[in-house]
Subunit: 146 residues, 2 copies
């Protein structure tokens, strides 16, 4: 553990303020997430050079869980761990509004503001078959009350 960048320290401070203990595993995990600067799976993190020998999968899992609870890390993707399927109707693109608490999914009526950006990306990156998904997450009024 040397060469902690300033940002890592800032995040570790937030962790401490949230009541987490400054363990080796926590420090390295935060640093790894920060350096990679791209979403990572539990498996990728567990097998990453910096963490592989240092700690167990369950530890990484629980750290991520705590960090997510504290709002320091975000878990991407739809509700829980289930695949979602939807019909692909020509000319009918849907974006969604999802409750993080109960998992309720509603289509959004508003026009999607992303199509232009999509074209730009296609030409600047060389990706083909491009499409996008846009999801808004939050707490629905029902869950907020309960």
């Amino acid at each position: 553990m040397q060469n902690l960048s300033v940002n890592t320290e800032e995040i570790l401070k937030k962790c401490k303020d949230s009541g987490l203990r400054r363990t080796n595993a926590l420090q390295v995990l935060v640093q790894t997430l920060l350096e990679t600067n791209s979403p990572m799976t539990l498996a990728e993190l567990t097998e990453h050079a910096s963490l592989a020998e240092l700690c167990d999968r369950a530890t990484v899992f629980r750290l991520l869980q705590r960090l997510t609870d504290k709002g320091i890390v975000r878990r991407l993707g739809l509700h829980e761990r289930a695949a979602y399927f939807t019909l692909l109707l020509p000319g009918r693109h849907q974006d969604f509004l999802i409750c993080k608490s109960c998992g309720d999914i509603k289509p959004i009526k508003a026009a999607c503001p992303v199509h232009n950006l999509e074209k730009e990306i296609a030409s600047s990156t060389g990706y083909t078959n491009l499409y996008h998904e846009l999801e808004f997450f939050g707490t629905c009024p029902q869950c907020a009350t309960a």
Copy 2:
């Protein structure tokens, strides 16, 4: 099986054109997806009144697989079935570009065009703690070559 709407028939035609056989399970699955008009999990579909007594979970799974292959259904969410985690850095919102084939994830540099819509949604739906995720999917140049 009565009361098939016109749209269901249109989709079933596409299925047939793609080489799928018109089975009972297929018809009911398509109709259910169409009526629900919102992404559904395998479990939700399997337990849905219309399908529960009609066919096995493996059947629904394989139907969804075929429909996805044919481009009639889309499977939402990130690559494979693993949770992705990322640091939640204040003031640094990231959107992503993801290869459907190899799962590679890159952050996008462009400014995110969605923030205004987000505010609109917050006030029109009563959702709180709103945030969004925007992902572009496609085939990366490497995978396109291979």
